[in-house]
Symmetry: C2
Subunit: 492 residues, 2 copies
Amino acid sequence: MPADLIDLLRATVGTDHVLTGKVAAPHFTDWRGRYSGNALAVVLPGNTQQVSAVVKLCVENKISIVPQGGNTSLCGASVPLAGDMPQLVVNLSRSNRIRAVDATNYTMTVEAGCKLDSVYKAAEQANRLFPLGLTAIAPHCEIGGNLSTNAGGIGVLRYGNARDLVLGLEVVLPDGRIWNGLRSLRKDNTGYDLKHLFIGAEGTLGIITAAVLKLFPRPQSVATACVAVRDPVAAVALLSHLRATCGDAISAFEIISRSCLDLVLKHIPDSQEPFAHTTVRGEVSNHERAYLSIPQGEPMVKHEWIIITQLSDVLPAALDTALTDALQAFDEGVLEYTVTLDKDLAETWWNLRKNISDAQKIEGISIKHDVAVPVSRVAEFIAQASAALRAAFPGIRIVAFGHMGDGNIHYNISRPDAVQNKTFIEQHEHDVNRIVYEVVAKLEGSISAEHGLGQLKREEITHYKSVLELELMSSIKRALDPQGLMNPGKVV
Amino acid sequence: MPADLIDLLRATVGTDHVLTGKVAAPHFTDWRGRYSGNALAVVLPGNTQQVSAVVKLCVENKISIVPQGGNTSLCGASVPLAGDMPQLVVNLSRSNRIRAVDATNYTMTVEAGCKLDSVYKAAEQANRLFPLGLTAIAPHCEIGGNLSTNAGGIGVLRYGNARDLVLGLEVVLPDGRIWNGLRSLRKDNTGYDLKHLFIGAEGTLGIITAAVLKLFPRPQSVATACVAVRDPVAAVALLSHLRATCGDAISAFEIISRSCLDLVLKHIPDSQEPFAHTTVRGEVSNHERAYLSIPQGEPMVKHEWIIITQLSDVLPAALDTALTDALQAFDEGVLEYTVTLDKDLAETWWNLRKNISDAQKIEGISIKHDVAVPVSRVAEFIAQASAALRAAFPGIRIVAFGHMGDGNIHYNISRPDAVQNKTFIEQHEHDVNRIVYEVVAKLEGSISAEHGLGQLKREEITHYKSVLELELMSSIKRALDPQGLMNPGKVV
């Protein structure tokens, strides 16, 4: 290890902002604790010029650079690789100024190290909305990481992914030069759109240091519905119907399977079934009874699939009426629903959704998937993957939930018994992945909808992308980072 | 010229689909008649495999490729260069199938040669909307060209640019291989987002042969307002106010200067002033009188700046009330307004806007600009550019209009007298451009908002982009098209 490099880094960013030894260690392990690596140090530059200087030092010394924000990657994208390759973690958390808010232009300019929460707040202070819907992780993740992974979340069906919320970028390139692409224009056709290369590249093409973000007007009216549907087929049709009747007002459409609900009810205090068990809407058809195994004559209990959907609008609108009308006009498998303007009631439903991951964690480990298919094929995905998995592994528990509004399903597999589960995962993770991803591939889906590739799926993706596409990605990587120093071992 | 190449091309696409001589000539001159070049032939492949085969023949014979759609580029992007370089025009007009419409997924898959009009119609037949708002040119332009130039238009403030309306692409690369990126996913984070490289690249990185487009629900309610505003400062504030109060419902916000109106009223039959001249809203302040040169005591006539704005919604909503309320609540320079639900009345206003280009053409030539600045700085742009130009060239006519909702102003300069005008343009086009573009640069704007660079601004842009950004663009070009055969002399 070049000892004087540490001195040079200290001289560049300040002694306190170069971490080594024990204080550096937490930066070398990822959020889930799956990936650990080693680096010479963690450097925390306070501004873009310092990032540039640090990268130039790395280039001179042929040291790889691992860009890091809140270190909340679920794919090991933001930690150094294991092994002996000399690496430096460049953590952006100190570069965290809100540089400007232009309420009239509906934009703000922020530095990479801003927590997502602080971006929300700065927008709110200007009576604007920044709509990237990752509320659970927002106190921890940083906007630079959100952009580098093209983060998704709940609001994508209305506002798009992180990439759709960006007008301009500032990037420190792999050679240390600063590209100032901080434009705040809604239209600009003067050559290749470079910002889209860096967004979602997980730090492999450069370090995003600042961005111009789009802001939106703040909705004034919100209505929420909790809807029990017969099955995912009905959910797909309902979503299409709601879009056609309520349009852009739909700002969330989340699906929750019974297995998710049961875990939340078991592990999360104060959670409760969203519907009184004995209420059903209209007659229960024989088909529905057979599907849910309800004997003739008995009231329906425990809905298998729940949808939480939300309408919001800037215009003052009777969204509860609109949502009720739309649900009433739809009769293909809606079993029961409640529509509310009451924030507290809506919050109890949202808590069911938001607590799924925590409840799962308490229950034990599982084989997780973050997949996307065309919205119209979500039901096919769930049916085909579940059938194939149940055939291969009888007795497994399938926890399926997520952003149905954009086709993104979180689909996690485990065995209910803890001891059996451990063995199952050790022995069959690869087989389970193969079964799930083959269904995804058949339905022309994605094996990583919103979490990225990182280290976790870097090899896996080579089975599902064409050789030509992988080659194009590599040629872009070589063109921008010929020395391969920028976040090696991730993505490409 | 390799004679057997023509035979090989005929064998590839069919004898009738290789044009030479007189029938080829119209394809060598651009829409405005500014650029003419020469090519060995025009080839019209009927499908993607044929495009691939044609490109491979060109590569083998070191012949440059000029991709062409409806040939409506306003920057000479879709015609061969003048000079002796061997070039082949590859026209996509015959590859024009609608491959699929998935109404439930709100997507459609179309080939490059589909006229924009036919894309609108196919969406409409599925009760969906394709919102790229280029209505005047829609019968002529093709979707491949719209995507290659990242077309804009009237609806960008609500629906985004062409690039925002694409989920997947199929591209024939510069070596003739076909990249199948025809995904119809709302979320996909599995590596670099290649589609954004080809969109807006004006055919310099490959030939877009098909795309998966996003569709939207069809609005059911529409209200339109014609608003006379004191000046562009008031227009900027009004737009911000309308977004904050009406939100996503705003689907158009166009500005028209008096000079535009006068030209339309002079040259387009049946056009008329949008407001009765003697009606004013409230008192006319001395500031307004001074600004518009209206003597004390006289009624206000001939508003200098007109806004046409539109609200639309899928939900049944009283948008006329919403628009009226929003306008009434705004008091900073709205002189007069009319709000209507009546389509015919709205159409008379829209015709004023749509006929500006035709009226200008009848009046004579002008020095045209297609610029963008941050929406919040549109008024500054108009004020500063107009002041600088009037100082340099007293007596000029400034025709300013366009998509204020996204900061894109069409800003055209001429002299009212035809003879003087000819001399003026011959002598001063360069100086006028320099004055306009310097103001654009100062306001961190773009010298080409929606028309692209093509041949027209390829050299110009080098004065306004950083050396680093130009270098990045060149390195992308080299990585994807190392032989430089794809649409040479355009963009980079």
